[in-house]
């Protein structure tokens, strides 16, 4: 008998979910938004956030005031070195400018983004055994660009400085002059091959967020809408278990969320070149677990919202802090400690962390077990709270 009860409960839930999805697929505008929303999110955050190597072809003016020293022109070799490096990286577009004042003027007009000045005593001081000084004229209104020019120049100087130093130590007869000049060398090596972009970082987070939010916020909206329109009464007068209403709605919303998740995945892989290192099945399992962890919270919110407007407002209020505190867009490690503590109680943090580990780092279940445990426990506890609350709400 109990078994039969569970079976009819499920069958009623499926009917309700089917009904919700039929409505969803008949709503053209809703469907379009369903696809456009994640696309917007990806495009916006993905393109706005600066990733490595995106700064290219900066317009930089070059002023060569060097008067030379005994027919020797150190600035010539510097400029050759600079051009050689730039030909590989294409970070700068160099143009010759006659004076510092001109650079300033052109930066203000927006023709240039910065400048490099070689002072008149450049060769002289180098020949006199002193440091050669270069001046970078930077656009303070754009710290990003100024930093990039400095970075490029630093690379050039480093290379040139090393070459000069190697020449100077040559007489010492060392087998490896580089080892003498620069005894230390640092190399960065990732866990997986290739260089992950910012999309690789945010795509898992956005997926986790969209899918989980669809349950937490979609559920209250869907139910309060039916209450407001009056169709809820049609279900309430049927001799069905109240739980099948909430279960059916949850199934419907989960399906909707998963559809959105898949759209994001397709966009991420197809449009933004995100590579999935781990198992795709594990990715879906994680999305479902994320939904499960949020169902209880969604039901609790549903029980307390009377109308659609409140539900929608609640959704916005909850969504924003969640978005920013769960490490979806910015690594949690960048946040102050108290914010990190808050993010540690949000299930989305764990879902997006686990998803990122699987998608970017190719992790398997053992590597994300902590995340999994937290999500399961959170889900179970919230559902245990939610079911009695919901039952009481339904019998008002």
């Amino acid at each position: 008998m109990r078994h039969m009860g569970a079976k009819t409960l499920l069958s009623h839930s499926f009917r309700i979910a089917w009904k919700d999805l039929t409505e969803l697929f008949r709503n053209r505008l809703g469907l379009v938004l369903l696809i456009v929303m994640p696309l917007f999110m990806m495009v916006m955050v993905g393109f706005i956030y600066p990733s490595n190597g995106t700064v290219n072809n900066l317009q930089v003016g070059l002023v060569n005031d060097d008067s030379g020293f005994n027919n020797l022109n150190a600035s010539q070799s510097f400029i050759m070195g600079l051009q050689a490096i730039n030909n590989q990286t294409h970070m700068l577009i160099l143009s010759n400018v006659s004076s510092v004042a001109d650079i300033r003027d052109m930066v203000q007009r927006g023709d240039l983004e910065g400048g490099i000045v070689i002072p008149s005593n450049f060769s002289a001081s180098m020949m006199a055994g002193q440091q050669g000084t270069l001046i970078i004229v930077s656009d303070e209104s754009n710290p990003q660009i100024s930093a990039t020019i400095q970075g490029v120049l630093k690379t050039v100087f480093d290379g040139m400085g090393t070459a000069i130093a190697q020449q100077k130590v040559a007489p010492l007869n060392a087998t490896n002059t580089l080892a003498v000049v620069k005894p230390f060398n640092v190399q960065t090596q990732g866990i997986v091959s290739g260089t992950p972009s910012y999309f690789d970082f945010i795509a898992p987070g956005i997926m986790a967020m969209t899918v989980m939010m669809s349950v937490m916020t979609g559920l209250p909206v869907a139910i309060s809408q039916e209450k407001e329109v009056g169709t809820m009464d049609g279900m309430m007068v049927a001799p069905i278990n109240r739980l099948s209403i909430i279960l059916g709605k949850t199934l419907g919303q989960t399906a909707r969320g998963l559809i959105q998740g898949i759209i994001i995945l397709i966009l991420a892989v197809g449009l933004f070149g995100v590579a999935i290192q781990g198992s795709i099945l594990l990715v879906f399992a994680l999305l479902l677990l994320g939904v499960f962890s949020f169902v209880g919270l969604g039901i609790v919110i549903t029980s307390f919202t009377k109308d659609q407007e409140t539900a929608q407002m609640l959704m916005m209020t909850l969504m924003f802090p969640m978005m920013f505190l769960s490490g979806v867009f910015f690594p949690i490690q960048q946040m102050p400690w108290y914010m990190q503590d808050i993010s540690k109680i949000l299930p989305l943090t764990y879902a997006s962390d686990a998803l990122r580990k699987v998608m970017v780092l190719g992790a398997g279940i053992p590597q994300i077990s902590t995340d999994l445990i937290v999500l399961v426990v959170f889900g179970v506890v919230m559902i245990a709270i939610a079911v009695p609350v919901f039952r009481r709400m339904m019998t008002r």
Partner: protein
């Protein structure tokens, strides 16, 4: 068992915060009866129906349907009843057939039976040719027919109808009324119907409970209710006064023999009066105030008059309430606020 009660209501009460919407009402509905709940906006009719159909929980009191308690045995009650609520219960993006299928599938009806029943019901309300159209495209009349038919999916023994003819043109109203009567006669369904339309109540109901301020103020057959007026020393006078003024109306309202005064239009009045000298007093009052009578008629009482008579009496003790009461029904009733 001929006169067995199928619904028994005892001291049913519903309060919202401090406001008492349904105030300690008791009544029985007999099996196979068409029972009407008649009352102005906000009287508490819908709230009574919602409680009886297990959609709202009574604050106090009990009720049974077919012997099942509406709170303790709500699931059993739900298998016995069907409800046509004030709001249309249907999904605009589903077709007529899909809507009926969906709601029907929530009552454990075997698939083949349900398929047949959905087709029959659509045929019954002449929606067969629209069965694959989304109900969002339907006219109000078609939607209301769908709304009524939805409540019949489980072949209910008791059908609750909340203002089923609201917003319908006279022809559709007649159709719905006929349909309800047919259901009652052919299927033996007990019908409880709320309305503030006197015609509906008068034409359809075996017995009528008049509800005001959450209380039953009268309960009887339409004929008996009318006898309350014509049998007693109460009469309805219809007057045409070409130079009718608001001052005159007020003077008539102030008369001791006048229970209620309603102005039909700019020149005619209906006055509910009692007492032997009622005619004389009314005519005198009009003359004294310079009114000219072009015609005077003694009307057969309608349910409206009964309603006025009863509620008018009720508030007679305080004269200042008489005017709002009389207006309350015939004029624009204040719409309730949530």
């Amino acid at each position: 068992m001929a006169n067995a009660s199928i619904i028994e209501v005892k001291n049913l009460t519903k309060t919202f915060n401090k406001f008492t919407a349904v105030d300690d009402i008791s009544f029985d509905v007999k099996k196979g009866e068409i029972f009407g709940l008649l009352g102005p906006n906000g009287a508490g009719k819908s709230t009574i129906l919602r409680m009886l159909s297990t959609l709202a929980r009574p604050t106090k009191g009990t009720a049974t349907i077919g012997g099942y308690d509406i709170v303790k045995a709500d699931t059993e009650v739900r298998t016995l009843i069907g409800i046509v609520s004030e709001k249309m219960i249907m999904y605009n993006r589903l077709t007529a057939k899909e809507n009926l299928w969906f709601f029907g599938s929530l009552f454990n009806i075997p698939k083949d039976v349900l398929t047949k029943r959905v087709d029959e019901l659509l045929e019954l309300v002449q929606l067969t040719q629209w069965k694959n159209a989304q109900v969002g495209t339907f006219s109000t009349g078609m939607r209301q027919r769908m709304n009524v038919v939805r409540a019949l999916l489980n072949m209910p023994q008791v059908l609750f109808l909340d203002e089923p003819t609201l917003g319908l043109d006279p022809q559709s109203s007649v159709e719905i009324r006929e349909f309800i009567r047919k259901l009652n006669r052919e299927n033996g369904a007990t019908v409880v119907i709320t309305t503030h339309m006197m015609v509906d109540a008068d034409l359809l109901c075996d017995r009528i409970a008049i509800i005001d301020h959450g209380k039953i103020v009268a309960l009887d057959t339409s004929a008996n209710l009318k006898k309350m007026i014509s049998g007693a020393d109460t009469t309805i006078i219809k007057l045409d006064i070409p130079n009718l003024s608001s001052v005159l109306v007020e003077k008539l309202r102030a008369l001791k023999c006048a229970d209620a005064v309603t102005q039909e239009n700019s020149t005619s009045l209906k006055i509910l009066v009692h007492g032997d000298e009622a005619f004389d007093s009314v005519i005198d009052a009009i003359r004294v105030n310079g009114g000219k009578i072009s015609s005077m008629e003694n009307l057969q009482p309608s349910l409206e008059d009964v309603f006025l008579h009863i509620t008018g009496h009720q508030v007679r003790d305080s004269a200042d309430q008489k005017i709002p009461m009389a207006h309350r029904h015939f004029g624009e009733a204040p719409r309730r606020v949530r």
